[in-house]
């Protein structure tokens, strides 16, 4: 079974019917729930969901008494997706830098390498570092990083070359894997 790591934009699109990739994201959720693919998401992603939803709420000044619970509602719906693994690697590396020891989380440490080699935005780099971290933790490769972010997709070849996993858009995953 193929293993995928989902970017935040894929999961939020499940509740964005106006997004042109809405249907492809629904198909991915169906494949996860029916155990056709093994999917991972991260604590970082959940935190990003809350930030994005809160920012959009302020932008559109939604006037509804229930709007205060929106971020929580999205997080809850994501966590409840059947078979979706929300995973963070809590291992800490003790690094010796010129005799100064620092304790740093594995994801943050790996992120420094990703930033150096790939050079995307901080959160993009952190998601990639999370994939490497998940691979280390579970001892199994992740086959695809699924994202609809144009900048990350532009670096797909470089990421594949450096880290040996594919970066694909939601609609591409559907056609490649026949979901």
């Amino acid at each position: 079974m193929k293993r995928i790591y989902l970017d935040t934009n894929i999961l939020l699109t499940l509740w964005a019917p106006l997004d042109p990739l809405f249907q492809s994201c629904l198909k991915i959720r169906k494949a996860i729930e029916e155990n056709e693919i093994n999917a991972f998401f991260s604590g970082l992603g959940l935190a990003e969901v809350a930030s994005v939803v809160e920012r959009q709420k302020r932008k559109f000044s939604i006037k509804d008494p229930r709007e205060s619970t929106l971020a929580i509602e999205f997080i809850k719906r994501i966590v409840l997706i059947k078979n979706l693994d929300v995973i963070d690697d809590f291992s800490v590396y003790k690094i010796d830098i010129l005799d100064n020891f620092i304790n740093i989380s594995s994801s943050h440490w790996l992120c420094i390498d990703v930033a150096k080699k790939i050079g995307l935005k901080t959160l993009d780099n952190l998601h990639i570092a999370n994939i490497l971290s998940i691979q280390n933790k579970t001892g199994k490769d992740v086959d695809y990083f699924v994202t609809n972010d144009k900048e990350i997709l532009l670096k797909a070849n470089l990421i594949k070359k450096r880290y040996d996993f594919s970066v694909v858009a939601s609609d591409n995953l559907i056609s490649i894997e026949g979901l």
Binding site: N9, T13, W15, P20, Q56, L70, E73, D124, N148
Partner: protein, 90 residues
């Protein structure tokens, strides 16, 4: 790095602390205070930071799936990936 902190304790608390030492839970006052403070700090962090959010997440949903889709239309009138990327630019 450890640091020494001077603090006045109530007589009543010290008596109870000594009782715990006698019972063998701690080897001396210093160790007892250190362990009790550390445990209580963790409890307080949990009470203040974890529990309220966890309670909110465990509360019954106030929105039906269809209603969340309506909110989703308002929040994301265009491409979600662009909205998420916008936040990553900051």
């Amino acid at each position: 790095m450890d640091e020494t902190v001077t603090s006045r304790l109530k007589q009543k608390d010290l008596l109870l602390l000594d009782k715990l030492i006698e019972m063998g839970l701690f080897s001396n006052r210093s160790e007892a205070v250190r362990k009790i403070v550390s445990e209580r700090i963790n409890e307080l962090i949990e009470e203040q930071l974890i529990t309220p959010l966890q309670k909110e997440l465990n509360r019954k949903s106030q929105l039906a799936d269809e209603e969340l889709l309506v909110f989703g239309k308002k929040l994301f009138p265009s491409t979600v990936s662009e909205v998420v990327a916008e936040g990553r630019d900051r």
